[in-house]
Symmetry: C2
Subunit: 145 residues, 2 copies
């Protein structure tokens, strides 16, 4: 089960380069349910997510470089490229996605929670913008269209 | 974990129509790892299997009719169609696959086991033919080529 909230970001933290960062490339074989392929640095992953906005079932399965490249030929819409910074905040980790390519200058922050209650009670840091958790347009599967 | 043995069949049991049967249609988005879509009567399933012949990790995830039909446009090679009969045998269930279309008159039997030891000690019924467990040509992913 994946429980997360998502926010628009207009201003980046000034010390961004202090945090771990990953280069991500991803595309969608299907949108409902989500069947996604992702390259994260040198890791290749197939992800399945059931329908839903705040709460979704998620399964991650390993791919190799060859299968990733072959499946990349089959995606719908555009390949998404972004840098993901991992920023500790209270007991959570903020995943800050800085998009490149056609989606720039979009920046989104996601926070995952162990329970729906924690997700509902979450107070975001002051530099977070609009809460878009329930706005399907900011799902990466929609952004890839 | 999926542990199974596979056999060629040349002669069908005479009472075949006494057993439950399912109509199966399936195709492969990728072969290594296996990423398969399957329609089984009115159920739609995405399956992931890691590499291997007798023992493989297997994950099954639900699809809907629309996603199945969309993914079917993306398969490599041919769509496989077959009837699967479920035949009780000792404490096991024989899955007897009678292929139609280009693969007819191929017939294969598969038996799944809870442990590798039981798989190794299995004595097949007399009507089973050649053991092709370790012959990759009889994997459905290969047959779809």
């Amino acid at each position: 089960m994946e429980i997360e909230r998502k926010y628009l970001i207009s201003e980046l933290p000034s010390n961004l380069e202090d945090y771990p960062v990953r280069s991500i490339q991803q595309g969608y074989l299907n949108r409902d349910p989500v069947i996604r392929i992702r390259r994260e640095d040198s890791n290749f992953i197939l992800t399945y997510k059931s329908s839903g906005l705040m709460i979704r079932e998620e399964v991650n399965l390993p791919l190799n470089a060859q299968s990733y490249e072959s499946l990349r030929e089959k995606i719908d819409g555009k390949l998404i490229t972004k840098k993901r910074y991992l920023i500790p905040y209270k007991q959570y980790t903020i995943e800050l996605d800085v998009f490149s390519g056609e989606l720039a200058p979009l920046i989104l922050a996601e926070v995952e929670f162990p329970t729906a209650e924690e997700a509902e009670n979450f107070t975001p840091p002051s530099w977070f913008g609009e809460d878009v958790t329930f706005d399907g347009r900011y799902h990466n599967s929609y952004l890839s269209k």
